[in-house]
């Protein structure tokens, strides 16, 4: 079995054409991942550009609302561009620069990763193309405009279902044709090796900071860690440094959408009998039909509706390291409003899935326990859609 496996998951299921560039990327990442100079550069941009470390905020009113364990929020929503995506984009663009690449490409669904990538491309003066499903472009006009404003070319993808999975395939196709001068910044901890490892490493700053910050806040004890899972990059970043600590219960929250029927949700790990398969270069749990065709998944959150999931999450599921659950659209909408009202923080609809799990968890917690929820992004981008879901039209 080849490299880059998490248990039996992961691997490099890509066309031969892509193999040389993956090998090149792997070698570059191996070279720099422990290089003090590279790490210092990443840290510098994390701190001075993106706004790290992010706060670990004690949500006192939300804690009172439930009247049980203390609730802390890891405020990735306060980062530049509004979500954790910038951690990965910065890390990868700095690596691409060292590899001598001239052009950056990315895929995007809701546009958050696209905006983060367009941002770092602007910062480092690199040409940038973002592949986006034509349907998603229509749904996320604001982010399309932002990317263009940042000097990025947004390429509409009209193949397949015209959504994220097709945009990802198209980005890989473009990469295959332009491997010498182009680096592909994949947006989540998915794809062929070394991406799942590399994205995890850049995102693991989230968990590392939580570990440090909780020492000052609550004596270093955490009982529950909660994060939402689409491809799973903020979740893997949150959980990774706690993976061997059994005293911390780690909970990954998937998008339950409209309900359990096929195509009505974006659940890959928390269903009754999930099936692994291969999508975008990795062997991992996958939403697929009886013939092995990848199905179009659904969630109110465009950032969570990906039919696959990072291969390390598949491993964590089987090994029982993380418990995976799901939250439906309505529960996420309720949590979106609750945090807005209680704490004056409008969360991303993705992060609202993690917050919504508090409804189920909190009654079973004790007052001397600590819960940390990763607030992966802010909800400005979702306000219009949420208004619509609540029956209000705003222009």
């Amino acid at each position: 079995m080849a490299k880059g496996r998490f248990g039996k998951y992961g691997g490099q299921y890509v066309p031969e054409i892509v193999m040389p560039v993956l090998t090149e990327l792997e070698a570059a990442y191996e070279k720099y991942k422990n290089d003090p100079e590279f790490l210092a550069e990443v840290r510098k941009y994390f701190n001075e550009y993106a706004g790290r470390p992010t706060l670990l905020y004690y949500a006192e009113k939300l804690t009172k609302h439930y009247g049980k364990a203390k609730i802390y929020l890891k405020r990735e929503d306060l980062l530049h561009t509004g979500a954790h995506k910038i951690n990965n984009a910065l890390g990868q663009v700095l690596l691409a620069k060292r590899m001598g690449k001239k052009r950056i490409i990315a895929e995007t669904g809701a546009g958050q990763h696209g905006v983060a990538t367009a941002t770092v491309a602007a910062l480092f003066g690199m040409e940038c193309k973002v592949f986006m499903g034509a349907l998603d472009m229509e749904r996320q006009k604001l982010n399309v405009f932002k990317m263009r404003l940042l000097g990025t070319e947004v390429v509409p993808v009209t193949t397949g279902t015209s959504t994220l999975k097709d945009a990802t395939s198209e980005a890989i196709r473009y990469w295959a044709a332009n491997i010498t001068d182009t680096h592909y910044i994949i947006g989540s901890a998915v794809g062929p090796h070394p991406y799942p490892t590399m994205v995890r490493d850049f995102q693991s700053v989230i968990g590392k900071e939580i570990k440090e910050q909780i020492k000052e806040e609550a004596g270093g004890k955490i009982d529950y860690l909660i994060a939402c899972v689409g491809g799973g990059s903020n979740a893997i970043g949150t959980f990774y440094d706690f993976k061997d600590d059994n005293s911390v219960q780690k909970i990954g929250v998937e998008a339950g959408g409209r309900g359990p029927a096929v195509g009505d949700n974006a659940i890959t790990l928390s269903s009754e009998g999930p099936l692994p398969g291969v999508l975008h270069g990795a062997y991992t749990y996958l939403a697929q039909d009886d013939d092995g065709q990848v199905i179009e998944v659904y969630s109110i959150s465009a950032g969570l509706d990906y039919p696959g999931v990072g291969p390390e999450h598949s491993y964590f599921r089987d090994a029982g390291v993380v418990k995976y659950v799901s939250i439906n659209d309505q529960e996420a909408l309720d949590a979106f409003q609750l945090l807005s009202r209680e704490e004056g923080i409008i969360p991303a609809i993705e992060s609202s899935h993690a917050l919504a799990y508090l409804e189920k968890l909190m009654p079973n917690t004790k007052e001397d326990e600590v819960v940390v929820v990763t607030l992966s992004g802010r909800g400005d981008k979702d306000v219009q859609q949420v208004a619509k879901a609540l029956g209000e039209e705003i222009d």
Binding site: Y13, E16, P20, A177
Partner: protein, 264 residues
Amino acid sequence: MSRLEEKFANLKENGKKGLIIYITAGLPDAETTVKAVLEAEKAGADIIELGIPFSDPMADGPVIQAAAYTAIKNGMTVKGVLEIVREIRKTSQIPLVGMGYVNNMLHYGFEKFTADAAEAGLDGLIVPDVPHEESAEMKAACKANGMHLVEFVTPGTTDSRISETCTTADGFIYCVSINGVTGVRKIDYSPINNVIEHVKKQTATPCAVGFGIGSVEAAIDAAKQADAVIVGSAVVKRIAEGKLAEACEFINSLRSALDENYSK
């Protein structure tokens, strides 16, 4: 000797270049596919690469992507593809190689799939998202059922990888002409011709060049060092437009051109 090996031996004996035609199974339905394969054989195809439609065909360009999408929408399944193979086998012994993506085969079960495929009459498999590194399990399953697993080289494949691929190469080696995906475009075939020269020093396994071949001129260029050329999108496009007769005329023109330029 398999049908595929026999065909290549036969071509070599007659000093001819092979013509491999790719057809998406189920475009637009099973009946048309069976007819297309049989007509393509009559028009001069030596080997048929039968596309098993997948929802996310990463290595394919727009024409074959759209063909797969249509085929799936019209109800084509992996089992349906094997039915097509059985139907073709009633009247033809043309070598048939299945070209599909790993997830469908994984979902079916590698061993069961290769067993059923061999039983139906497929001679080999091409699985573009299974590079050499990931191919061991698939290779074993194919071998157990007397099927070939075709491997790839590209202009960017390093010498050490070429050597590795050559040691296990089986059926034929798929030589990708250019960095990119399937689809007709103007291509300089000299880089891949250089790779083939290199490959030929290390293995007797035949080499077939594919990607981008959409005209008689391109086929002649591409066949310089190779034993065969693979033509897909240019044929599939015509079938998608309902122009099977035109597709077969095109195949026939490729046949004539290859024979005129290369037959000894």
